[in-house]
Amino acid sequence: MRQRPVDDEAPDRLYMVTGGRTRADESAFDSVSLIVSECEPAPGMQSEHVKILRLTRRPTAVVELSAQLRLPVSVVKILLCDLLDTGRITVRHPSALRSAGGPSPELLKEVLVALQNI
């Protein structure tokens, strides 16, 4: 890795956890994509990856990971890319992004009924 000039501030956490990468493949994750871990953390893994695998034993949205890890959403997406590339997580994408004409009447009806019953 290329040596950087010493900063007069503490190393930036966002820079550290992402290894300097600044963009995830934005199509891979929505802010409410549900992440599910497919394995237990392994020794030597980056601590943020370990935390993500623990938090996602049950489905967990990207924004919830962001809140729990106290990292911006886009930084969490970068971390998730690593885990997805190595098959350690699976992703359940929001169906709203797949329907070009907007949400279907059936979906809206389902949401309406569910909200009336909360």
Binding site: D7, D30, V63, S66, P72, V73, L108, E110, V111, A114
Partner: protein
Amino acid sequence: MPSRTSERAALRATAADALKIVIVGGLGVGKTTMVGAVSEIRPLSTEEVMTEAGAGIDDTRRVRGKTTTTVAFDFGRITLTESKVLYLFGAPGQQRFWYVWDQLFSGSLGAVVLVDTRRLQDSWYSIDRLEHHRMPFVVAVNRFTEGPGVDAVRDALSLPDTVPLVDCDARLRHSSKDVLVTLLRHLTTWYAPAQETTS
């Protein structure tokens, strides 16, 4: 204990499809209050890093340095069915927030513009931006004081008759729920014509 709290708040293992509704409004108008009134979890806060529109960040120094702007937002959620969960976002309406709209809120079902009648001007920009993004919305007046009636508010916001405008008390679960139900009814008509005809 934090770990127990997070386990209790976990989604069902069958959760497979998350939906989004955004509550937009100025500072102190009651967005987080409304999210908290209907959410099954205590509202969480997080932030997003603002990137250049459509271009992302190419220069890593922008992430490390002070030029990066972050936009904070709150959210909660409601489990709707075995597989569906609705995320409710409380989002600030100020100008820089709209740069992260596509990053965070593309694919939202719709939006609620939460209004304080003492600061109606705070809502103009949000309404303009929602129209720009072709995002259907309803307007909810959070009643802090008596203030002008809904007709006067509609006039002041130059709101067309097709956009529902309701009074609410964001502190109350049933009142906030009614706002969401109003939005869903509006969405049913808003999305219908586009699916029946392409012209």
